[in-house]
Amino acid sequence: MECQECKQNPATLHFAQVTNGEKREIHVCHQCAKEKGYVTHDDESYSLHNLLSGLFNFDPEKLHHSTHNKPAGNQMECKKCGMTYQEFAQIGKFGCASCYQTFSGHLNPIFRRVHSGNTTHDGKVPKRVGKDISARRKVKELKWKLQQLIAEEAFEDAAKIRDQIKEMERTLNQREEGED
């Protein structure tokens, strides 16, 4: 059987497409199948990527149904490395550390499947970067305390806390600038 698209090569891909309840048989060669978008992968081997991307493709739609006002996941693009959600879903790999932030709304279902239901890290924290993390946590805590003290009109204590926050934020900012 010849390919129904190019009418040159032998058809190697045979499948049925159902559109609006109407069944249509399709016989195409590999080349045309790729061009027409019937298949997305050049690599036909069954790999972890294929398996994963299967999971990914499943997720945006599910999310789209549950949150109607959000844009579809595949229109998102990482500002830092330019990877789109669609590319991520296709190759199953992140482009850079920032992708985790960009696609964060869509990651929990994926992580849950891959990591036995887990979505949050529990384990080693790097020494240097980790120091900032605990400092930032502390600043957050202090800010909350400051609000409380102000509400209680304990202005003297509030001033002390305010100075402490300022000092901590200054060192944090300095460290960040020093890294650039």
């Binding site: 972890l48 994963l52 830092k80 490395c81 990877m83 190759i91 199953g92 790999k93 992140f94 482009g95 850079c96 550390a97 985790y100 990651l107 994926i110 992580f111 891959v114 990591h115 036995s116 239901g117 887990n118 979505t119 949050t120 890290h121 529990d122 384990g123 080693k124 924290v125 790097p126 020494k127 240097r128 970067v129 980790g130 993390i133 890294e179």
Partner: protein
């Protein structure tokens, strides 16, 4: 070069030592995946980024030592010949991915070959640490120290919620892949292992053959490793793996005892046939080699064979792989030539044993 010297150079020094439970556990490995915070991951990074990482790591770590891991040597993939890369793969010092796909790949390898830090593979950094026998806890402890040492110079991509950020979602969190290589001939022979695998999988652990393609486990050598990296601490992951490995050791020992009780003569026959093949064959494929080596090793462990060193299985599994054979032959070999060369290398190796005996 004589075979003795070739083996000395070919076998990683750490592999020559005996570790705990080394009659069953051949080695323990810890792998940690890490990335630079500010650079795109190798998959999409441009040459400038990847060169920058190579330059930085070479400058900071080439020829440095940490504790027992002396003289890290910085090796660029671009500077190696295909067989040289393949030899590193066969020694498990680098991955096939780094050898074949990573144009800007490199590795920092310690002199004793216990530590290998792969650079610009799927992640910017993948450090692996090997220990002989069953020593997961110790391996993790020391891998953490090396990790801290690297972190003194590197800003890791780390997120409070997600942990260490990796290119593939399957590694995020701890970035840890802990694995042990086990010789399980009795469990394989009695088909008990197949029945145990589903239960092991349920704990988030994976069992696979380490030599050979797909699910086939050449030489009855299996790798057990963790799959889950997010939401569990490194210690918990190691604990789970350890308890499964302990169970497997117990079961393997039990199966060996049973085999001996129920079919001693058949077992002995099988072992000595394999011994005969290795010692006398003129043409041998890798599959048959692996089977015979596994039998002979079992024969040594069970006390049927006395005058051969235990390390022969580990050693010959490495040495009879294609790239090593070609390196020893100092030329390219066709598959048939490889089988001839493999047989002659094995015969020579057995002769060495007899000489040591005298």
């Amino acid at each position: 070069m004589g075979l003795e010297q070739f083996i000395n150079e070919a076998i990683s020094p750490w592999l020559k030592e005996d570790g705990p439970d080394s009659d069953i556990v051949m080695s323990s490995r810890i792998r940690l995946a890490r990335n630079f915070e500010k650079s795109p991951f190798p998959l999409i990074a441009n040459q400038e980024h990847l060169d920058g990482i190579l330059y930085f790591l070479e400058k900071e770590f080439n020829h440095r030592s940490y504790a027992n891991y002396e003289q890290l040597e910085f090796v660029r993939m671009a500077d190696l010949k295909p067989t040289e890369k393949q030899v590193l793969v066969e020694k498990h010092l680098i991955s096939p991915h780094l050898a074949d796909k990573s144009t800007y790949g490199a590795a920092l390898i310690s002199k004793n070959e216990q530590v290998s830090i792969m650079i610009n593979e799927e992640d910017h950094i993948r450090m692996q640490l090997y220990f002989p026998g069953f020593q997961l806890e110790k391996a993790l402890e020391e891998a953490f120290q090396i990790d801290d040492w690297l972190e003194e110079k590197i800003d890791y991509a780390f997120d409070e919620e997600r942990g260490y950020l990796t290119s593939c979602p399957t590694n995020v969190g701890t970035g840890l892949r802990a694995s042990v290589m086990m010789h399980l001939p009795a469990l394989a022979m009695t088909r008990k292992l197949n029945r145990m695998i589903p239960a092991i999988n349920q704990l988030g652990l994976v069992v696979r053959g380490i030599y050979g393609e797909g699910s086939e486990a050449l030489g009855n050598i299996f790798q057990i490793s963790n799959q889950v990296t997010l939401g569990r601490s490194e210690q918990d992951i190691i604990e789970d793996l350890t308890s499964v490995v302990e169970k497997l050791i117990e079961q393997e020992r039990h199966a060996r005892t049973l085999l001996r009780q129920q079919s001693e003569l058949e077992l002995e026959d099988r072992i000595f046939r394999s011994y005969g093949i290795l010692e006398h064959s003129r043409i041998i494929e890798s599959k048959e080699t692996a089977k015979c080596l596994s039998d002979v090793r079992l024969g040594i462990d069970l006390g049927y064979i006395h005058h051969i060193s235990k390390s022969i299985l580990n050693e010959l599994m490495v040495l009879t792989q294609p790239a090593f054979l070609q390196q020893y032959a100092r030329r390219m070999l066709t598959p048939h030539e490889r089988d001839v060369f493999r047989a002659s290398l094995i015969r020579e190796r057995f002769t060495l044993e007899q000489r040591e005996e005298l």
